[in-house]
Symmetry: C2
Subunit: 278 residues, 2 copies
Amino acid sequence: MKTIKTHRMFDGEVRYIRHDSTACSVPMEFTVFLPKEALAGENLPVLYFLSGLTCTAENFTVKAAAQRHAAEEKLIIVAPDTSPRGENVADDERYCVGKGASFYVNATEAPFAANYQMFDYVTEELPALIDREFPVIEGARGVTGHSMGGHGALIAALKKPGFYRSLSAFAPIASPSRVPWGQAALPLYLGEDEEAHRGYDATFLMAEAKERLPILVDQGTADNFLKEQLRPELLEEAAKTAGHPLEIRMREGYDHSYFFVQTFIEDHIRHHAKALHN
Amino acid sequence: MKTIKTHRMFDGEVRYIRHDSTACSVPMEFTVFLPKEALAGENLPVLYFLSGLTCTAENFTVKAAAQRHAAEEKLIIVAPDTSPRGENVADDERYCVGKGASFYVNATEAPFAANYQMFDYVTEELPALIDREFPVIEGARGVTGHSMGGHGALIAALKKPGFYRSLSAFAPIASPSRVPWGQAALPLYLGEDEEAHRGYDATFLMAEAKERLPILVDQGTADNFLKEQLRPELLEEAAKTAGHPLEIRMREGYDHSYFFVQTFIEDHIRHHAKALHN
């Protein structure tokens, strides 16, 4: 694990880190924000932020303005990349498939299977690394994300009961198996079997979830992707059927950008802090 | 004046605007943040943020996280570009001269004089446009900026007594006529006469300032440019000699990035709001 650069902010530190990933078989980069208490060695909870299509950790780190609130609430924030990277990593010309578009699945199909083991990466390898390298409170772990990363957060928590103690999402792709972005990507990662796609679709996972972790979702009404790609109504329907606690807050006039994320990140950080500091 | 795009944030709106500049003889772009009260027609003060070398308005707008505080303090924020732009605009291969590096002067030398009339642009043309097009409180106008834009803020206020009611800067180039960046750029814009350079140097302007507007400066101690390019000690010295009220806060471990700006922007916005809402 190598720290590439460090910036002080809000008395804490943002670090850009590179490490060799076993799951993805390439070097991976992530950022971590350490509040001043963590720098002084105090154990703190960790919130994972999963980013959306085309992003790296950079977008969240520079645009979400999360660190102010994380410093106040004493949370470490970890932001991984959205896919494996590198010359030899399979890609696709569409922005919703390949690099920057892993959908956080473990791919089973060539050529993607070689590196696209992002579910294992974000829910196993990276948390193990973080737990080993930083002062964390054991098990005090939350997950959130934006768009494709909102989907990533939902499936991470739904597929790993007990592993996360708090969950939220910004404008998540609620049901990738039923929208064009996911229908472009999932067959290339997982093959044609629709059952495999549903294994990474929160609206299907919810029916058989072994845990009912409350979900907070913010969604802008002026989001260009709302009706065709995000479809929060499918999540709402699934939660209702399953009896899963879900609060979707429709935000009038907000779009899909980080200006939207920046506006509501405080609420999400407080939501996680409340669960993780208990 | 044309609004290119709009994003809702903190119940207000960020607008990206393009207009034909008379001063610079090319189209110019700026961003404006309008708190919800301004959207409802209430007159508010305006804070101008001038950006640094290589930047456009985008850096400040997406990275400074100023809008939360501007919304709370009911301030409109206007962020202009750092130079004229376009194929026919003179440039230089060095990042500290030409596009993105106007130093906010009115150039007198060819080929820059044709478009680089940035002092007039940011202190006359743009404020006149803002006053005409947005709900502003007449004369309630502050100016701040980062690095080259911190220098821009200082000279704007010092050269136009009475025009701004509040002033601050983040890591300003305190004395461009005495540091390498300015010594590369100013002769190309203003010719070899050092008197002309000093006419845009806060440390020289301060001696003969007709107004003593208090200045708030934040400066990181881990800023790579501190000793060679920024030199806040020269501003401190000039202020002491002139009896100009100046508070320089040296921030331990902070660098020159927007992570530094984001950390201290709240203090600056409160500094301006206090002066502008009186």
